[in-house]
Symmetry: C2
Subunit: 172 residues, 2 copies
């Protein structure tokens, strides 16, 4: 079950204005609707807007947000197993298989049997994967800055802190 509030039907709009991050909403008459008090809606919408920019920035490296997020974690030094990736990214384990398959085929990551548990396979970046990650990270960072250009640096930091607290509590 489930689904998300909405998708990423923004491409054209984004290519046109691309200024205030989003005007594309047909003037925005609906901005006064009560749905804009719904945090879930706001999260989905900002995420969708950012996703377009992110995927566009990552396309240069033949990555999408999905594969990029796996690459990040493969570069974390934490040696995550596929199961941990699935849990953390809220993806079905079978989707992780496909993502790692592709990255491995491209020589960006390698699978290795877990040290304590040989069922598990850890995913770590190769030198090539690390190098590509460094470049992709810069592009993704620029995309994020653009998506959040309406906020000051302080405001971005505050939002980040609140999101992290909502997800994992204040203990981080």
């Amino acid at each position: 079950m489930s689904t998300i509030y909405f998708g990423n039907y923004l491409e054209q709009a984004m290519t046109i204005d691309m200024q205030g991050v989003k005007q594309g909403d047909a003037e925005g008459k609906l901005v006064t609707a009560s749905i804009t008090n719904d945090v879930g809606f706001l999260l989905a919408k900002l995420h969708a807007a950012g996703s377009v920019l992110n995927n566009r920035a990552l396309a240069e490296f033949n990555l999408k947000e999905r594969s990029y997020s796996v690459l990040i974690l493969a570069n974390s030094g934490l040696e995550p197993t596929q199961r941990e990736l699935a849990d953390f990214l809220s993806l079905d384990p079978s989707q992780i298989v496909a993502l790692v398959d592709e990255l491995e085929k491209r020589g960006l990551v390698v699978r290795a049997p877990g040290k304590q548990d040989r069922r598990a396979k850890t995913v770590t970046a190769t030198a090539a994967g690390s190098k590509l990650f460094d470049q992709a990270r810069k592009a993704a960072s620029r995309a994020e800055t653009q998506a959040l250009q309406g906020l000051s640096a302080d405001e971005v930091a505050t939002m980040k802190a609140l999101l992290r607290k909502a997800l994992w509590g204040g203990s981080i």
Copy 2:
């Protein structure tokens, strides 16, 4: 193109703990990874977590987040056209057709030709749609509270304000 960072593969986990909104991430060893500084990632993850709760709350009314969001706007009094719904919800117009079809079949909304533009069709709630919306809204509100239980009321308000500012600027 596009896609989102990740999906909603959380159902089982959520049914088990459901306490701190999310522990389900296999202890959370990966919480220390740099990806948790990525706002896009945080938005996606919090949204995904909230989505599960939201859809579960709405299932009682045979609604999903998608159809619920259309129902909200149909109840807004703004008489949105399908095109405006598509733009605002970042959905393809053809998906709006399906959503409105279903809601109309259930007698919750009606289509009416636009007054100035007869190509356009406005979507407004019926009495039944309004009644169902009032109930669904309460359930969705409870779900949101639960999803954000890690934050104080002030913090929720701050997050809301920041999200709105990022999306539409400080002018609202």
